[in-house]
Amino acid sequence: MNWTRRHPVWVMTAAMLGLLLFLWGMALPLSLAPAPIGPAATQFAEGTRVTVALTVVAGVIGTVLGFLAGVGRLSKVRAVRWLSSFYVWLIRGTPLLLQILFVWLVVPTLLPGGIVLSDFACAVTALALNAGAYNAECVRAGILAVPPGQVEAARALGLSPLQIFQDIVFPQSLRVALPGLANNLASLVKDSSLAYAISVVELTMVGYRVQAESYQPVPVFLTSAVVYLILTTAFTTLTGALEQQMDRGTRRSEATA
């Protein structure tokens, strides 16, 4: 932890490289494992890649949505505030599985003909919408945590509202919002497993199929669990290091350059 504190950039890079290396090379060690894992190594590797893709794409879109809705909930415009609150209320009040099924079954009927959403795209859409609503709460809390006196000082210095947001409010709210956002990203790794319900072949689906063929659920699910743990640990390390990086200069004791 102390090392993470002092070298956050290195830790971030290491976690990122580790994750990539893991995704790229995991089929190799897995193929050496005894049946039923060894023969299904490439399936596991492919499923893991899909899980990570779901997480990353939905995570990025969900972060953008979270910022829009989080800022929107504090907007001066009543309609924007209302819309953002409605979105957060709707998503947080209904099960994720229902949202995934809804996007998969209902949204295609609403789209104009010719546009086809893949199962993957449906899963990403639902996961991003879901993450966005939870992220909005973190962003809102972050913005509310910015001391109003600092905004006032910026106003008194003649900064425009946009400059105040970009230079004062945004960076400071990010520092407060980040642990929550990171937490939501780690949840997303696990939540992405629900995509199996709409036949996206991600890690959980692979595990389900392999055990169905081999009748050996214990080693199969153990393998899935270990992969999930590696992924969540990598994401947590990554975001933890990012937090440390953002936190620089906020600790009294630290001598900063």
């Binding site: 000082a153 910026a154 230079d167 906020t250 900063t256």
Partner: protein, 276 residues
């Protein structure tokens, strides 16, 4: 540039002259009083049903150092904050260097460039280094290059005795140091007027003097200062003028000497007996 006119006759009580002329003079005169820079006429402010400012009129001249004192809740902060548009006023007129406040946002831009403010709680940007705290506004608002802004910031830090702290962050500084940085930050915009709202009230007693020292030096440079303060020593020794607020009005507008030796109102006497 405006025409040179004779120095406006100083008025010792709050005037209610509604049609304020752009009284101006470039000559400081013996009392170092320059042209009129702030004109407040019959300013009113409500917070809901509460009447916080009840017809405040005063004029402040370039180079003048005014101490504003009065009981808590009398409207001192509210008055200062209407002067740089942090609060809107809902009656009367405020002109900063001739520009009328409250009509359009363009006026606000002008005013914010000319009027700096120092707050009780410093309000430094906690995520930015000391140097960056000071360079931010000059770069964003005045369009200075980073080099120019940093040169200016470092010389201001030198002036407040904190050059060595430039790379630190606000939390790493004491309250007194933070307030001196806040003063440097305000000065970096080269304002004509500097508003201080109880700049030493949040400080530990041993840090009050280092901030007052910087303010004393500032007073000698000819910048216009309005200082809300409970430091009677500062008011007496440094201020050219003393304004006493009570219940949303200016009750006395006089010299510090006159106020402290012979307060005109019962309320001023009561206030003085409490702070001394």
């Amino acid at each position: 540039m405006s025409a040179i006119e004779p120095v406006a006759k100083p008025t010792q009580t709050g005037t209610t002259d509604a049609g304020l002329a752009d009284g101006s003079s470039t000559d400081g005169g013996p009392d170092k009083r320059g042209r009129m820079i702030i004109q407040a006429a019959q300013v009113h402010k409500h917070y809901g049903a509460f009447h916080a400012l009840r017809g405040v009129s005063a004029q402040f001249h370039a180079g003048e150092v005014t101490a504003i004192i009065g009981p808590s809740g009398s409207g001192k902060s509210t008055f200062l904050r209407t002067l740089n548009g942090l609060e809107s006023h809902d009656g009367g007129e405020i002109r900063i260097d001739g520009v009328k406040l409250g009509t359009d946002t363009r006026a606000l831009d002008v005013v914010r460039r000319e009027v700096g403010m120092v707050f009780q709680n410093f309000n430094l940007f906690s995520h930015l280094s000391i140097l960056r705290n000071i360079t931010l506004a000059p770069m964003r608002v005045r369009g200075l290059t980073r080099e120019a802004a940093e040169t200016r910031a470092l010389s201001l830090l030198e002036r407040v005795g904190l050059r060595a702290q430039a790379a630190k962050y606000p939390v790493q500084l004491s309250g007194g140091q933070q307030q001196r940085v806040a003063i440097a930050r305000a000065l970096a915009m080269e304002p004509k007027v500097l508003l201080f709202d109880e700049p030493t009230s949040a400080l530990d007693p041993e840090m009050v003097n280092e901030v007052l020292g910087v303010m004393r030096e500032l007073a000698d440079t000819g910048i216009t200062m309005l200082v809300v303060t409970h430091e009677m020593g500062f008011a007496r020794e440094v201020a050219d003028r003393l304004v006493f607020f009570d219940q949303g009005q200016i009750l006395e507008d006089t010299s510090p000497h006159a106020f402290f030796t012979s307060p005109a109102h019962e309320r001023s006497r009561a206030f003085l007996s409490q702070v001394r």
